[in-house]
Amino acid sequence: MEFRDKRVIVTGGIRGLGKSIALSFAREGAWVGVSYSSDDKSASKTDKELKSSATRFLLFKADVSSRSDVEEMVGSVLDEWEYVDILVNNAGIVRDKLLMFLDEEDWDRVLDVNLKGTYLCSRATIKSMIARRFGRIINIVSPSAITGRAGQANYSASKGGIISFTKSLSKEMARLGITVNAVCPGIISTPMTENLDQETKTSFLHMIPMGRFGEPEDVAGAVLFLASEKARYITGQVLAVDGGLT
């Protein structure tokens, strides 16, 4: 029970990676606040799983790109649980299109959810962390941010922005006992990758030295490590969990 009574928020925590991260914290004794934007069906399923595994949990329907939604969500967590120890900025969307066909709305939406959402959630929680001189902020990024990927100008820009944000915020928070890091999952078996066609899947597998897609639990393990005491001297870093892809 490494995270007994730690207060954790995981954004986008009802499916795929976010869900695995939320449940992993719950199994380690943490109190878990999970946000989701629209998928009520998955939320209800995750709600049941958290009921059976979490000491305490809260589920929020919140758009992380909306300041009022974020402030309401974090405000509720602080009212109920007093403070936040760990924030995992996982909520993210893709709207892949080649730049020539990438309209302003698809650009804005991806940047708003992924990058602005990370900013808003971090900003809303840091006061509580500063007050206790302890905190962990872990941002989920993507290899697309580092190597680029055709059709992902918006997504890679948003994730690249999060890496820069991570590094700058880590310097602001270092002296205050708060670490800020990023986890960069490679190709992981999630609903996002299940929709890929067979040809794309095969080409991805050829690129991964370990010869398999990662599991959500592989990523959750890295997130829990960065949130743990073992990682107290690590900040401003990007930890790749990708089977050797990058």
Binding site: K127, I130, A131, E172, R175, L176
Partner: protein, 94 residues
């Protein structure tokens, strides 16, 4: 808290102690801090990261929010300036 805020001298002494406690300053005492001494750089030698902790402490203790950096710069000019700022904002919040 009302009694402290309403008495300028008491509030200044309270703030000096709050700064020492919040920032865990070990090499300075309340008596050594002049109310007119600048808090930053050449004065007490605090920096913008120290200010973050003070902003959080002031919000927690006085329920007074320092909403942006410019306001903070003016408020943190000295203990006296900070006391004046807190007294004004404390009354406005009621």
């Amino acid at each position: 808290m009302e009694e402290i805020v309403n008495n300028s001298e008491v509030l200044c002494e309270f703030l000096k102690k709050m700064i020492i406690d919040t920032l865990k300053l070990e090499d300075i005492t309340v008596e050594e801090i002049e109310s007119r001494t600048p808090l930053f750089r050449k004065g007490l030698g605090l920096d913008s990261i120290d200010a973050l902790e003070l902003v959080v402490a002031i919000e927690k203790i006085f329920d007074v929010i320092i909403e942006d950096e410019e306001v903070g710069k003016r408020a943190f000019a000295s203990i006296k300036a900070l006391a004046k700022f807190i007294r004004k904002k404390y009354k406005q919040r009621k």
